[in-house]
């Protein structure tokens, strides 16, 4: 999956990919104060033996936990399941429904996306990416967007959560790269000096079919140097 980190104070964005094996669960957000945690399980291509240039991986299962609300939400491209107090409610992506409960609001927009608001100040959007059912390689997958995180504590971490706090970076020495349209540059971030490449990724919040291009500085090698530690540090044993 690809990650896009918008940095408003720098009027720009950073991107990186994380490539891990299908079945691996990555911690995306963890707030030790509120307990809110978001993890994502990776899925691969339908036919792992198919000869594609590079194996793609996506998020196939997302789990959101809020222990204070005794809430768990599991989202797959097939269904959406809410557990509250150990009791289960499930929906499909064919539903258009709003679920409200003690400060929680979940809105499923049929075959498009779902918006999860926990209290005031934490809102995630999960986008359903549907591919042609008979596509030989690709399968349906999910995207996660944090649209509001201001109620999460400063201790929030995770592959996405660590970027909820203001951070600084500097890009200089922009120079031609191997692709003339994608120049390379040097970036200083978190005391690391990295080689980055100018490119673009897509934001699918508004248009889950085509997406909107977001230009960004791409950090190679699974976000090495940009993320705290290495990407394998974010592997967790289970979704919840």
């Amino acid at each position: 999956p690809h990650f896009i980190i918008e940095v408003p104070q720098k009027d720009g964005a950073l991107c990186f990919n994380i490539d891990v094996q299908p079945g691996v669960v990555l911690n995306l957000i963890r707030d030790p104060d509120t307990g809110i945690t978001v993890n994502g399980e990776i899925i691969g291509e339908k036919d792992p033996s198919s000869e594609t240039k590079k194996k793609k991986s996506y998020f196939g299962r997302l789990g959101i936990v809020d222990p204070q609300m005794d809430l768990q939400i599991e989202v797959t491209p097939q269904k959406i399941t809410l557990w509250s107090g150990g009791r289960r409610t499930s929906f499909t992506w064919m539903d258009t429904v709003t679920i409200t409960q003690n400060g929680l609001s979940v809105t499923i927009n049929k075959k498009k996306n779902m918006v999860v608001s926990i209290g005031d100040g934490v809102t995630f959007v999960i986008v359903l990416h549907e591919v042609w059912k008979k596509h030989p390689i690709h399968q349906d997958f999910l995207g996660l967007y944090t649209v509001d995180s201001h109620r999460m504590s400063t201790k929030t971490h995770g592959l996405l959560g660590q970027f909820f706090h203001p951070f600084d970076f500097e890009v200089f020495d922009v120079r031609p790269g191997s692709d003339p349209k994608k120049p390379d540059a040097t970036m200083i971030v978190k005391n690391h000096k990295l080689i980055v490449t100018w490119g673009s990724q897509k934001d699918y919040r508004m248009d889950s079919g085509h997406g909107t291009k977001v230009s960004c500085w791409f950090v190679h090698d699974n976000g090495s140097g940009l993320i705290d530690g290495v990407h394998t540090d974010y592997i967790v044993p289970t979704l919840f």
């Binding site: 929906f91 258009t96 709003t98």
Partner: protein, 617 residues
């Protein structure tokens, strides 16, 4: 010798039952063709048992190629014709209640020697979803072997058919081959066409083994919680969400233990209660109130359905005894007070729903025995907060009273027939209401887009059921139609939204030319009449007159034989008109006659021995 097909000079050439179901709305046509091979005129009978929930929409008799069609008239107008015919010594035939679910339509006509007669009865009904299935019931009972017998049901469901089965009580291995059930996508078909020999009850018998129940059950795919269809300016919205957790319930069973309940009734009641206690969920609360001349409770307050409480409840049920008279008023008020108190003091969870289920076999005859006063007391005490369900056991019960009281408290009444399976009837009822998935369900539509909608708010949505709302679309400029359904679930509040693109829907339905195009309009009319008649049961004065006028107007417009209308078939005979009348009596009849839902009266002038059918249960 005459072939087996000819009995007493009459040959039944064919009997065909043709059912077309489109979006749960069933249009059934029963046709029988007969020939009189005798040298003299003969009386030919046509008997059909149809569901009590169905409305006859047409009946015609064709004799020697001349068809006498039916006309729906206001009941009073038809009755005058009927009375006149009877006073002239003409014959009358009636439709009587037949068992629990059916009404028997019986007509007969005198057919001249060598003449042919065709009877065609059409009736329509909205199939209701219960325990996850729609059920269409056909009673099969030809009087003699029939040359061509067939039942064909074509089902079209825009949501797609998930499962389809036919359950035939008289099926044999030989008949298995001629019963076919198939479905694919939106279409399904059940066909049953036994040959002449396959109909024989034994290889040398001239009697038919086709005698019993033919039940078609199916369900549709539910990828979405709801489905909206719009055709020719009318819409229907089916709503049945899946996979929601059950809302915990607080149930008070109010049980009649008066002397009349002794013996088998009480044994069956106990058996049913013991079975129900096995199904009570752990997060439910319950209590029992017993009433005869006095009222007693099992526990002072509602108690949770813990294993220990359930054990004690079973012991209590096994041990209570019958005695005394029937004090319905105090028993119900005690139950209502108990639920209200449990709610106010927080004994029961906030997200839970309350119901009272009363079982009685008689009339209130001690304490407050005026039914109007009991109704008023109960209505005021409940205050619309939760439903009351009344189960009327046996023949002597004042069912009208129980039904009125249940309806005005957002519940319903059911008869428990005094039979060997009365315990199963009680359990079956409990199963229907045991699993509420939503409470306070409100179905909303854009106000300036629609009119004349049927009931659009319900206290409960039960698992395995379906809410149906229909109405007219008045704004044709709009391209999309949005329906919102709001309800309280076990854990959260939910708002389901259905959006339909009108143009897309129009195009999709154009492809389905074979379905009868006005089915949504007729479904709307059926549902509206049904609900107006139900409301009318509790209305008084001007309100009742208004509801009656509305229901009558729609019954006449849509050719439905309802309790307010009759169908008259006029057949010129011997230079004198003869009337055949089909009608459905209203609720004014006495309690023990209420199940005479249809009375079809057929008058004709036989050559000799005029006779009268008697309407009886």
């Amino acid at each position: 010798s005459l072939p087996d097909t000819v009995v007493n000079g009459i040959e039944i050439y064919s009997t065909k039952i043709n059912c077309k179901v489109t979006s749960r709305f069933a249009h059934n046509v029963v046709t029988t063709r007969a020939v009189n091979h005798a040298d003299t005129a003969k009386e030919v009978f046509f008997d059909v048992e149809l569901p009590k929930t169905a409305f006859i929409t047409n009946f015609t008799i064709t004799i020697d190629g001349v068809t006498y069609p039916g006309n729906v008239k206001e009941k009073e107008v038809a009755k005058k014709q009927y009375d006149k015919a009877v006073s002239q010594g003409k014959t009358a035939g009636l439709v009587k209640a037949s068992g629990r679910k059916l009404e028997k339509f019986t007509v007969s006509v005198n057919v001249a020697a060598g003449s042919k007669v065709t009877f065609e009865l059409t009736y329509e009904e909205l199939l209701k979803r219960q325990k996850g299935k729609y059920e269409m019931y056909i009673k099969v009972q030809p009087k003699q072997l029939v040359n061509h017998f067939e039942i064909v049901a074509d089902i079209y469901e825009p949501q797609g058919i998930k499962e389809l089965d036919a359950d035939v009580s008289f099926i044999t291995n030989d008949l298995m081959d001629v019963l076919t059930t198939s479905f694919s996508g939106k279409k399904g078909q059940v066909s049953f066409k036994p040959t002449f020999d396959q109909q024989r009850s034994c290889p040398t018998c001239s009697t038919s083994l086709l005698n019993g129940d033919f039940i078609i059950r199916y369900d549709v795919n539910r990828e979405q919680p709801g489905n909206v269809q719009i055709v020719n300016g009318y819409f229907v919205h089916f709503f049945a969400p899946q996979n929601l957790p059950v809302v915990p319930k607080n149930v008070v069973f109010v049980i009649d233990v008066s002397g009349s309940m002794s013996g088998q009734k009480m044994a069956q009641t106990k058996e049913a209660l013991l079975h129900i206690l096995n199904d009570v969920r752990e997060d439910d609360f319950l209590n029992f109130i017993l009433f005869s001349s006095d009222v007693s409770t099992w526990k002072e307050n509602m108690v949770p359905a813990t294993p220990e409480n359930l054990r004690m409840a079973r012991e209590f049920v096994r041990n209570f005894r019958v005695t005394g008279a029937t004090n319905i008023n105090d028993a119900l008020l005690k139950g209502i007070e108990m639920i209200n108190k449990a709610r106010e003091t927080g004994i029961v969870p906030e997200r839970s729903t309350s119901i009272i289920i009363m079982l009685t076999d008689g009339e209130a005859n001690t304490g407050e025995s005026r039914v109007d006063k009991i109704q008023e007391n109960v209505r005021n005490a409940i205050g619309g907060k939760f439903p009351l369900y009344n189960l009327g056991f046996g023949h002597d019960v004042n069912y009208n009273f129980l039904e009125k009281m249940a309806l005005e408290n957002h519940g319903l009444a059911r008869r428990i027939y005094e039979d060997s399976d009365a315990n199963l009837q009680m359990q079956g009822f409990y199963d229907e209401v045991a699993n509420p998935l939503l409470t306070d369900v409100d179905l909303q539509y854009p106000q300036n887009t629609i009119s004349d909608i049927t009931q659009n708010n319900y206290q409960h949505f039960y698992d395995g059921s379906e809410i149906v709302v229909a109405g007219r679309v008045v704004d044709f400029e709009t391209n999309s139609f949005v329906a919102d359904v709001k309800g309280h679930g076990a854990l959260n509040d939910l708002t389901f939204t259905e959006e339909v693109d009108l143009k897309e829907m129009e195009e999709a339905l154009k492809e389905q030319e074979y379905i009868f195009g006005d089915y949504i309009e007729r479904l709307w009319a059926y549902l509206t009449i049904e609900q107006l008649l139900e409301k009318r049961k509790n209305a008084q004065g001007e309100e009742k007159e208004k509801l009656t006028a509305q229901a009558l107007d729609l019954s006449l417009k849509y050719h439905f034989v309802t309790p307010l209308t009759s169908m008259v078939v006029t057949k010129p005979e011997d230079n004198e008109d003869s009337e055949f009348i089909a009608d459905k009596p209203g609720e004014e009849v006495k309690a023990d006659q209420i199940s005479h839902a249809y009375a079809t009266q057929l008058n004709y002038q036989p050559p000799s021995n005029p006779y009268y059918f008697v309407d009886g249960d």
